[in-house]
Symmetry: C2
Subunit: 353 residues, 2 copies
DNA sequence: CTGAAAGCGCTAACAG
DNA sequence: CTGTTAGCGCTTTCAG
């Protein structure tokens, strides 16, 4: 069963020729080098032995690796799956892409990056790297950063237009009359999350509104965490007249919705909820979630294109992928209120749909 | 910037020693071999040059690869992300795992498998391989199959207990009075889906009920496909008195729910819906979906364990991971009906929640 | 047209 | 204790 994998030497011995001949034949550069008879015999032997060249050895010899590594924090998040898909498709003609994620926990550390670097890879893509990782990072091959605003290393980046995303969301909420908005954050030190919150806050303030942070930010990107952080913060928010909550990511928003429902709040009657990312499930939950579409597939494609350019020495500094706000039923008009502070005592129970 | 990666030779030259010395030092086997002074100087040079051994070259030399490849159909499906996570964690002490997926399309072909095999890998894990792939497959290293019932090659397998899953679901539906159940299938030639449907049908029949296939099975695992197939089949189902629909996967069930709602059907009042997989979002949609939990993380862990065993020559034939039925609001009592056939003409519109 | 030889970066015997 | 040698599987000059 575990037939030892055939090597070029095996083929050569079977045919009675040299290894170089089989090398030429399998790589198809037979033109004017190998006569047709020999070629046919080699090809037959290749078939028979099911020989396929050892890619690692080939890479070692040619110094032209055939795969690029994609490192991301958590592949369970459908967002990264979609990014991976776009990336993979856009480089498929020339490279295979292999995914690397932390074996456990919430985010990748420098170790995962170094593991990837220690293989022979043509390029490296780092998705949403933490500042901790970037401090320790040393480039050893063409590298592209994805979703890494604030990282001022000279590396090519592909970022989302988070400013327009946040601004769009803010304007929507402002137009609906929201002046006090709770914010459920995640990884407050990671560039992409810093920026989301920042632009949202700026835009809200320009509209004369305020962002109120949750008591604590989510430690993990799970529904449960979103739920727990919401419960923890709700008293504080309620006392300060919060009429809408924005979550740093849809998954947390799901948790917020669940918690709000459990607390007997009607959405959006008593509380509006919105998120970032717009993963496909956001349109299906109850109520459908207002969210900013991050165009994950495009992001992956852009990363692939940037990678190819970088490998070819035409490094692009920064690519920006646009985002799109999707308005759904989870956001609605703010409950009318009089002063800047209101005591939303109890709940005037509208049927929680 | 793109400082050429340092090699063992570079380190040796800087220190003025042989490459073997640095090899011994970096791999920590310095005991009684290298004197402390030399060791320290080498370590200093390693630091200075930021030397890290080329893993591919090391593998080539030692013939003991350090990573295992995981091939799966579609990483956008959170199920596989979770499996990957479990797998990754369970082999972390000894191996890194790298993911391989098709660059586009819905399923991996033999090409993806061969790409993986052509690297130096310690093991290969194939998730839900199609029969087409398995026909062409030739093992070149320890291989473990995941979710591959019906594949009678002599390879170690990790499967779900699909029989108890389907039986549990059937019994639930039977108890609720359902006698005509629509079935929304996906990839009807892939082992895992064949088996899901089969056991469901058998269990339904034992209870005197029938499974009615959709007009066509879903070509892709997306909400849209589920929706389209439902619409297409609903007339047929309705005419035959179908009171519940089971989807081969939760994602399709989401589509069915959306379609049913659009058709003005109340769930579960007029139609019950259930799925397989129980991805985390299933508890959040409206209405929450009754589904069979596939324990993705455990499945991944089991695959990791089976892999380790196989590598160590103690191949396990088959590992079965249990499943668990989660009852939620999407399933309820069948609308009372008189004969085996009922004309559910129109819709007595109960408010679609 | 074809084979022998060198070398990619590393490790593992074996001498000194 | 340390360096030299050989070789992992492949590609690539360079002679013949």
């Amino acid at each position: 069963m575990k037939t030892k994998r055939a090597t070029a030497k095996d083929v050569a011995e079977l045919v009675g020729c040299s290894v170089s001949a089989v090398s030429l034949v399998v790589s198809g550069r037979t033109e004017g080098r190998i006569n047709n008879d020999l070629r046919d015999r080699i090809e037959a032997a290749v078939q028979e032995l099911d020989y396929r060249p050892n890619q690692s050895a080939r890479t070692l010899a040619t110094r032209s690796p055939s795969n690029i590594a994609f490192v991301c924090p958590d592949i369970r998040n459908p967002f990264f799956g979609e990014v991976f898909h776009g990336l993979s498709a856009s480089v498929a003609a020339q490279y295979r892409v292999q995914l690397r994620v932390p074996s456990s926990g919430l985010d990748f550390g420098i170790d995962v990056v170094r593991d990837a670097q220690s293989e022979n890879i043509a390029g490296l893509i780092l998705a949403a790297p933490s500042s901790g990782v970037m401090e320790l990072f040393r480039s050893t091959c063409p590298t592209v950063l994805l979703e890494a605003p604030d990282q001022t290393l000279g590396l090519p980046c592909v970022d989302l237009n988070l400013e327009s995303a946040a601004k769009g969301l803010a304007q929507h909420l402002l137009a609906m009359g929201h002046r006090r908005v709770g914010y459920l954050s995640y990884q407050p030190k990671k560039g992409t999350f810093v920026v989301r919150r920042h632009h949202l806050e700026v835009a809200m303030q320009e509209g004369g509104a305020h962002l109120l942070d949750a008591i604590a930010s989510a430690g993990e990107l799970t529904i449960e965490e979103g739920e727990a952080r919401f419960f923890e913060s709700w008293k504080h928010w309620k006392e300060n007249g919060v009429t809408a909550v924005v979550a740093a990511d849809d998954i947390l928003a799901y948790g917020a919705i669940r918690a709000a429902k459990k607390a007997g709040l009607h959405i959006p009657g008593q509380l509006s909820v919105a998120g970032f990312n717009d993963i496909p499930f956001s349109a299906l939950i109850a109520p459908p979630l207002t969210s900013v579409d991050f165009r994950a597939y495009e992001l992956g494609q852009a990363a692939g294109a940037a990678m190819i350019n970088t490998i070819n020495g035409r490094a692009t500094n920064l690519t920006v992928v646009e985002t799109e706000l999707h308005l759904r039923a989870s956001t609605g008009a703010a409950t009318p209120l009089k002063g800047p502070k209101r005591r939303a005592s109890g709940t005037s129970s509208a049927p929680a749909v």
